[in-house]
């Protein structure tokens, strides 16, 4: 036998899961998962809807029975209800869904008190903890407000307080950031990081946002009930060597079809193409891409590190038996070529009572353009879409959609637009074919046209083999493409997509975007999309950011990023051995707006070179080491957060000024 060589004591384990299997009737939700969570870390479960995240978390929280395997929490085997009761006081569980564990009619204060008393928190400690948590979440001004009147982000922060009020040693948070706007999401992570530092808490958290993966100390990537990869973000990165080459190339469609002959991941982000190569050497990676392109000359070519999302997509593709169906866009007879603008909004206003939901919004969308409308919940995006769709009459202003005035020709507009909503709005109890034929009939297509469009949709959306399946049984990605197909059944010239990609796995999402860009480029369909997945907004040709009913920034993704870089500086990423201590030290030293991403610190810097030196000096004085520092490209999320925070600050100052 080998002599075990112990250099450092193994980290204390809070959770140990072995061979976990959960079955719902015939359906196997989780098949054999192993997992270990160490004390004091944020452990992330990442994966699309239906990957098995919730089942696993519920079993660890002791509220779900399972078929086989072992689940140990605080060295107690969770195999009976009594065993689960023994550890429940030491953990906090936030179930999935915005504020679903809260009581809508109780106020913020009453909700917290209820959970505290349920957990037998002594009254004198409760007052102190409540004050601290409310201040941290900036909810202290809303203590008397009923929970149902809070915004989505505020509800989720209140949910977090209620979960943590008894200071659990282990917090289990199931998709706490889904449906929450980017600013509140950042807040949420900051609060969690602070509590982790102060209280030595351990956190198990799940998310469907791939870009949040960098925030975890360790993570498991789940897909269809199995673990595809796990470890620290760096370890997961190491599983897929490769690099991302981004460039612009015209004609884009020709470039894409040439690249697809040899590359597995080709993505169009507006005018930019992102291509994955297994080559890690920047020079030869670029050469490989250039050789596929032939006589098309790539412009502004960069070679970057892979994102974790790229890694996941590569892992998923490796797992799948066959390459993803590359969408065939069969040519359809385009009825009329539209000249002029597809959508024009001029000074649109909409009031609800005394509340102005949309305030003088103007924008234009050209045929063949993908236009993204961004904003937090309640910013007014959906109201704008409803007015343009003719569901909601505007209070003021004008609009033209598909060449018709929305005030006078609502009926004609409805015939010419396609619309797809967040919920995909399909009839789940109808089959794929029945859904398509229903919408064909609604748009008045005759039998011949219906058959033609049915065939077109099936091949466009890759629905072969699903024709007679009930929609409820379809995977989310397929459901999404079916909804898109139904919205396109009458060959609309303008397509509205309201938050269309929630809950879809990364491959499904890329497939979806592939279809959208082809629709725009090949058929000249104008697409207006709203989203608060900032990584999706990168696909837009032109973006408009809405805040409190107004458009506050506009431009292409690149232009918007460049604007923020000019105003606030570049994104500096610092890696240290003790990120929590480093964060506090740097804040003391006067650096503002630092965000913690797992082991890394992010901050905007006007003079990165000089700031790096200052940071190194400041941290060295406390005996902390900088393991690396680099300038990273800004994400659209950074842009969004920067803009909205600036506006919120200005709003606060004006209210203060008005009060004074």
């Amino acid at each position: 036998m080998d002599q075990p060589e112990i250099l450092t004591p193994p980290p204390a384990q809070v959770v140990r899961v072995r061979g976990f299997v959960k079955q719902y009737k015939q359906h196997i939700a989780v098949s054999g998962i192993d997992l270990e969570i160490h004390k004091g870390e944020i452990y992330g479960l990442i994966g699309p809807d239906g990957a098995g995240k919730s089942s696993l978390m519920k079993a660890i929280a002791g509220v779900l029975t399972y078929e086989s395997g072992t689940v140990e929490v605080f060295e107690t085997m969770i195999d009976t209800e009594r065993a689960a009761e023994r550890v429940k006081q030491r953990l906090g569980f936030l179930p999935q869904g915005l504020g679903l564990n809260l009581y809508p009619d109780l106020s913020v204060d009453e909700n917290i008190d209820f959970f505290a008393r349920l957990r037998l928190v002594p009254e004198h400690e409760l007052a102190e903890r409540k004050a601290r948590l409310l201040a941290m979440t900036r909810l202290d001004k809303f203590r008397a407000r009923a929970m149902k009147n809070l915004s989505g982000g505020m509800k989720q922060k209140l949910g977090l307080i209620c979960t943590l009020i008894h200071e659990p040693e282990l917090a289990i948070l199931d998709e706490p950031t889904t449906g929450v706007d980017p600013v509140s999401r950042r807040d949420f992570w900051a609060i969690l990081a602070e509590l982790l530092q102060e209280r030595g808490m351990t956190v198990l958290v799940s998310t469907a946002y791939m870009d949040e993966a960098e925030r975890f100390h360790r993570l498991s990537f789940l897909s269809s009930g199995k673990v595809l990869a796990s470890g620290t973000p760096a370890e997961v990165h190491a599983l897929v060597p490769g690099s991302m080459v981004t460039f612009e190339a015209t004609p884009q469609l020709e470039a894409i079809s040439r690249l697809k002959t040899g590359c597995t991941q080709v993505e169009a982000l507006g005018p930019v193409l992102r291509v994955f190569t297994e080559d890690t050497n920047p020079v030869s990676a670029a050469q490989a891409i250039t050789s596929y392109l032939g006589d098309i000359e790539p412009q502004q070519l960069h070679v970057d590190k892979l994102d974790l999302e790229d890694v996941f997509v590569a892992l998923l593709l490796r797992e799948a038996d066959q390459p993803p169906p590359s969408p065939e866009l069969p040519t359809a007879s385009v009825s009329s070529v539209n000249h002029g603008l597809a959508i024009e909004a001029k000074e649109l206003i909409r009031d609800f009572g005394t509340f102005r939901a949309v305030d003088r919004v103007s924008f234009q969308v050209k045929p063949g353009e993908i236009f993204g409308l961004l904003g937090a919940n309640g910013a007014g995006k959906t109201t704008v879409i409803k007015m343009l769709n003719g569901i909601l009459p505007p209070t003021g202003g004008e609009g033209w959609v598909a060449g018709e005035d929305m005030k006078t020709a609502g009926g004609a507009i409805k015939e010419r637009i396609g619309y797809m909503s967040q919920a995909f709005s399909l009839y789940l109890d109808l089959t794929v074919e029945e859904n398509i034929r229903l919408f064909a009939g609604i748009y008045g297509l005759d039998r011949r046209a219906t058959n033609e469009r049915f065939a077109w949709i099936v091949s466009m959306a890759g629905l072969q083999g699903y024709e007679s399946s009930l929609t409820v049984r379809l995977p989310m990605g397929v459901r999404q493409r079916l909804a898109l197909g139904c919205a396109l059944v009458h060959q609309p010239r303008v397509l509205f997509l309201d938050e269309p990609t929630s809950g879809v796995d990364p491959i499904g999402r890329r497939h979806f975007w592939d279809i959208l860009s082809r629709l725009a480029r090949e058929e000249g369909v104008a697409i207006l999309i709203t989203t608060h997945y900032m990584s999706e907004a990168e696909h837009g040709d032109h973006l408009a950011l809405m805040y409190a009913g107004r458009i506050v920034a506009e431009g292409s993704p690149a232009a918007m990023k460049a604007q923020v870089e000019r105003e606030a500086g570049q994104l500096l990423e610092v890696v240290t051995d003790q990120p929590g201590l480093a964060l506090r030290q740097l804040e003391r030293a006067g650096f503002a707006g630092i965000a913690l991403f797992g082991a890394q610190l992010h901050l905007l810097s006007r003079d990165p070179a000089q700031d790096e030196v200052r940071i190194r000096e400041s941290l060295a004085s406390e005996g902390l080491h900088v393991l690396g520092a680099a300038i990273r490209p800004l994400s659209l999320e950074d842009v969004f957060v920067h803009r909205v925070m600036a506006l919120e600050r200005r709003d606060r100052e004006t209210t203060k000024g008005a009060a004074a």
Partner: protein, 385 residues
């Protein structure tokens, strides 16, 4: 677009939407089970089970006379109306037995009853009746009074040397009735018909309301609103589909249960019956459309249906005749399509009358239905503004 094309498109929309509703309904297994149960088993059970006539009323006797006459009188209280529960030893035991509730009445025959009858002296018997259930108690008292009266009359005749059968020679009024439309006075006929009407009413409100609210709940209504469909085109197919479904269920109840099992006659025109049933369903569906506009989910629709349907069922004249109700209730119920439909359904099935006799009810039902439907549609349109 030419008007003809427009019509073609309009029909195409109506057809696909109606087909969709039918398919969705057929796939909703719990709802289908409820529908099938309500129009088959439940009709059978109700037809058999509900009896408003006197049956098996428990009778206790305290016979202080123990004579030929007293035994003769007691023997006239017989099944199926009365059930002999035994004799009491002490007269004061009667109340306690009634309190306990096992028996319904106590007949107290005094001593010297027979002697008094024979000698022509006036005499009386006492009947204690439990009228907790007023209609049953009162009808038991009524039956008993008839039996005692008849017995008294016969003993008077007998004392004067006349046989009971010779009553024709004595100057007295004989009430002799002929029963029409339901010669056997078979209660299952009316009970099963009125139960069928109750079920038609419930489903005519519930099905369209549930279908409309489901679209709201699942968010699919948004998709319909951005399509070129008008609110009428969204609502009408649901009403059409649900009407077809309920008509089918009615046919099953009528030809599958009521006719073969209870022998309910169908004396009038079937075509007229089903046409007017369709009119009734559409009229009542207006209430369902309204219910869907003030509710947000299926659970609320269920409660709302209960709330609206209960008074309609109770007060429209199925359980008790309209004429017995206070005037204001009668005026209010003029708004209930069911009030007219009862007369139409029993008229066609049991009396075999035709449209010439029913046109005024049909017209009233049509007018009330049109107003309810119009109101429902108005509310439905308004909620999306």
């Amino acid at each position: 677009m030419k008007p003809a094309d427009r019509l073609v498109v309009w029909c195409r929309r109506l057809t696909v939407m109606t087909r969709k509703e039918l398919v969705q309904l057929l796939r909703d297994i719990p709802l289908m089970a409820f529908l099938i149960y309500s129009f088959t088993l439940s009709v059978y059970v109700t037809g058999n089970g509900i009896q408003t006539q006197l049956r098996n009323a428990g009778l206790l006797v305290y016979d202080a006379d123990r004579s030929l006459s007293s035994r003769e009188l007691v023997s006239r209280f017989h099944l199926p109306y009365f059930r002999f529960d035994g004799e009491l030893i002490h007269a004061d035991e009667g109340f306690r037995r009634l309190d306990r509730g096992r028996s319904m009445m106590v007949l107290d025959i005094p001593a010297r009853f027979h002697e008094a009858l024979v000698s022509g002296e006036p005499t009386a018997v006492q009947l204690l009746v439990d009228t907790t259930n007023a209609p049953q108690g009162l009808s038991a008292a009524g039956y008993a009074a008839r039996i005692v009266g008849q017995f008294g009359q016969e003993s008077v005749l007998a004392r004067n040397g006349l046989a009971a059968s010779s009553s024709t020679t004595v100057p007295m009024i004989v009430s002799d009735h002929r029963v029409w439309y339901n010669q056997d006075q078979n209660e299952t006929w009316f009970e099963s018909i009125s139960h069928l009407l109750r079920m038609i009413t419930i489903f005519a409100v519930l099905l369209p309301a549930a279908a409309l609210v489901r679209e709201k709940e699942r968010g699919t209504v948004e998709q319909l609103l951005v399509s070129p469909l008008t609110p009428v085109q969204i609502m009408l197919p649901k009403v059409v589909a649900m009407t077809l479904m309920i008509l089918g269920a009615t046919a099953v109840a009528l030809f599958g249960v009521m006719q073969p099992v209870f022998g309910v006659p169908i004396r009038g025109s079937l075509f007229l019956l089903f046409s007017l049933t369709a009119l009734f369903i559409v009229a009542t569906a207006g209430i369902g459309v309204f219910a869907s506009t003030v509710t947000k989910n299926q659970a609320q629709v269920g409660m709302m249906t209960l709330l609206v349907v209960a008074p309609i069922l109770l007060l429209s004249g199925i359980f008790t005749p309209m004429e017995t109700m206070p005037a204001w209730v009668q005026y209010l119920m003029a708004l209930s399509p069911l009030r007219y439909f009862i007369e139409i359904a029993t008229g066609i099935l049991l009396k075999g009358v035709g449209f010439d006799m029913l046109w005024s009810q049909a017209l009233s039902m049509g007018v009330v239905g049109a107003s309810l439907f119009g109101f429902g549609l108005w509310r439905f349109r308004r909620q999306f503004q």
